[in-house]
């Protein structure tokens, strides 16, 4: 084990080796993935293609669109690892991504719907 340096401490979690879970891939490919992007398995996904156990689990969990962050929580994997798994599946045509809306200051209509919706809680 590497000697503990100052870059992690009590606020940080256990030391892991995430590339062991990503088939050796170290970063996501293609278009940026966001935590709240929705991931969905295409219907034929997983048939006769080589998958790591983690990728197979991702596919099993998103027959309907599931946000990336919920996949990470369900699989108990760091979000960075799930992004890599999902980007690889996307590149192979096994999942589709429905991108979240960048609300920011741009979409007044959605902002107003959020205000109204929260008030009703």
């Amino acid at each position: 084990m590497q000697r503990q340096g100052e870059w992690f401490d009590g606020d940080a979690g256990p030391v892991v080796r995430p590339y062991a879970l990503t088939g050796g891939l170290t970063r996501p490919s293609g278009e940026r993935l966001d935590l709240i992007d929705m991931v969905r398995a295409v219907r034929t996904a997983g048939r006769n293609v080589p998958l790591t156990p983690e990728q197979a689990e991702v596919l099993q969990r998103c027959p309907i669109p599931v946000p990336l962050v919920e996949l990470a929580a369900d699989l108990n994997l760091p979000t960075g690892v799930v992004k890599i798994l999902v980007s690889d599946l996307r590149e192979r045509g096994l999942v589709t991504i429905h991108r979240s809306r960048s609300v920011g200051l741009s979409d007044l209509k959605i902002l107003q719907e959020v205000v109204d919706g929260l008030r009703r809680l």
Binding site: M1, Q2, G5, W7, F8, D11, A12, G13, P14, V15, V16, R17, P18, Y19, T22, T26, R27, P28, D34, L35, I36, D37, M38, R40, V42, R43, I64, P65, P67, V69, E70, A72, A73, L77, P78, T79, G80, V81, K83, I84, T96, H98, S100, R101, S102, V103, G104, L105, S106, L108, I110, L111, Q112, E113, V114, V115, G117, L118, R119, L121
Partner: protein
């Protein structure tokens, strides 16, 4: 309403529009409590990878490091309608976690900075971050029973907030109080939207 359909989806399934609200603040300020009190699901915890390299560059994905540690994030969900879902993310506000905020705040509606008035300085890094990155935010002073109850004006001055940033008191344990904080944030984002139109 023409929310984007799904490429391979059935005609009936609606893929919701998802929006993010961030919950920042120092250790023990009540981030997890606020997320939990207003979320429709028990707050879930996920982890973001943090590598040594991430400290030095704006890289989030440095899993090529031999050793990588993780930082916990709590998240919650509020379904406003079938086709509109708000996700809340609570995660540490210290400066060394800013690389995470770059990713988290991308496209976010805005942020809640939770302050504990006994340790106001703990929320300075979060405020710095959102000011620098022009992300709408409100400061919510989580009022614990034994806290000193400075006036909100005093707190606003102590935080040297630029004009217009709402500072409100809340009890993060109470759902309605947490909800009111989120409403204040969304309203503030609308105000900022209008200001942007005129500038």
């Amino acid at each position: 309403m023409a929310y984007g359909g799904y490429d391979h989806g059935s005609a009936t399934a609606v893929t919701p529009v998802t929006v993010k609200i961030l919950v920042a603040g120092g250790f023990g300020a009540g981030k997890t409590t606020l997320v939990g009190s207003v979320s429709e699901i028990r707050p879930l915890r996920t982890e973001e990878t943090l590598s040594e390299r991430s400290q030095l560059v704006d890289s989030l994905y440095g899993v090529e490091q031999k050793s990588t540690t993780t930082v916990a994030m709590d998240f919650g969900r509020i379904t406003i309608r079938d086709d509109l879902v708000v996700y809340l993310f609570g995660t540490p506000g210290q400066r060394r976690f800013w690389f995470m905020w770059d990713d988290l705040s991308y496209g976010a509606l805005g942020a809640v900075v939770l302050a504990d008035e006994r340790r106001l300085a703990d929320c300075f890094p979060s405020i710095d971050y959102f000011e620098r990155n022009n992300i709408p935010f409100v400061v919510a002073v989580n009022s614990f029973d034994d806290s000193q109850h400075h006036s909100l004006e005093t707190i606003t001055q102590a935080l040297s907030l630029s004009g217009g940033v709402p500072v409100i008191r809340c009890d993060a344990r109470r759902r309605t109080s947490s909800r009111d904080v989120l409403v204040a944030l969304a309203e503030h984002a609308i105000t900022r939207h209008h200001e942007a139109q005129f500038n």
